[in-house]
Symmetry: C2
Subunit: 168 residues, 2 copies
DNA sequence: ACTATTTATTTTAAGCTTAAAATAAATTCG
DNA sequence: CGAATTTATTTTAAGCTTAAAATAAATAGT
């Protein structure tokens, strides 16, 4: 398994010896550093260039893919944030004219949220620039490196999901 | 460069044609998903097992590595969060008995923050378990995959840093 | 020594985020 | 039908986070 100098109990396996997981910890910290570094820069640029926050951008991105609108619950599931969080986020984006809400005709509890025309236009401008920022941030990786990273992250995602759910 | 069907201006390069950066965007979204998935699970477990938040855990982790304590500014730089953020975080951990602060003798503006004995003991218990959670979350990756991922993330970090600073 | 600047920290205002409790409409089932 | 449950959403309380303004002590330059 590991080449590290883990004290072993002579003949047997590492009995009662807590395993050394420092490598995994380093891997996690590096993954987190990358993610935070990029996310932080994207936040900064969104604010600087468009005076918009990342959560608002993410919300608009979801709605841009759903021209007929979505309910708060749908959005909540897609974005993996709480319902209460979305309530406030949508409120502010309605106030600023980016979103519109109407009560569902089929279910009087639910609301359908949509981008306004102005909201969509603004989002698409931002999205185009955002995409080029991401390309710039990953720019020093070759195509092969990008593919490899993609594959390894796919596996990481599955591994984490397995551990998050009851697991095996 | 890319195999994709980007409309080209016959003889020349892709003149005035915005490039397709969807692959980089997908890569970024996958990286973010992995990071959020793991971070969310770590937060959940820290809360469930130890009733502690991730920011508090991170703060204690920094202080555990500095037995003689650190100033708020040092902590701020190390943790890459704002000074104001730390003010509140430290306040709450002092109140709960995990940290102690004393005014620096050399500089009456500065405070030296340290883990209390109780705080250190509690942190080390948490850290040991935390490390095993991380190993579990990355558990499905082989050692080679972990090494490869480590290397690719190192390169990603450099790439992002280059783009964040003025760049080339 | 005095003024200007820098550095360490706190405060403030705004927004993001969550879990848990509350509301209210829809659905299920006896 | 009518009670019990589920589902959609909002509210609440607490904490995290930041940028920008405010304080206050230290340092530098004259």
């Amino acid at each position: 398994m590991s080449d590290h100098a883990i004290p072993l109990d002579a003949e047997t396996k590492a009995v009662e010896m807590p395993e050394d997981h420092r490598d995994e910890l380093r891997l996690w910290l590096r993954l987190l550093t990358c993610s935070n570094l990029i996310e932080g820069e994207v936040r900064r640029r969104l604010r600087e260039r468009f005076d918009v926050t990342l959560p608002r951008f993410d919300l608009m991105a979801q709605l841009d893919k759903a021209p007929d609108g979505m309910t708060l619950s749908d959005l909540s599931k897609r974005m993996m944030v709480s319902n209460g969080n979305l309530t406030g986020l949508v409120e502010r984006l309605v106030a600023s004219g980016h979103l519109e809400r109407r009560v569902s005709e089929l279910d009087r509890r639910a609301q359908i949220i949509r981008l306004t025309e102005a909201g969509q236009a603004e989002f698409r401008t931002m999205a185009a620039e955002h995409e080029s920022w991401i390309a710039e941030l990953f720019g020093d990786l070759t195509e092969k490196e990008q593919r490899d990273l993609m594959r390894l992250l796919a596996k990481t995602k599955l591994s984490a999901r397995r551990a998050v759910s009851g697991e095996a």
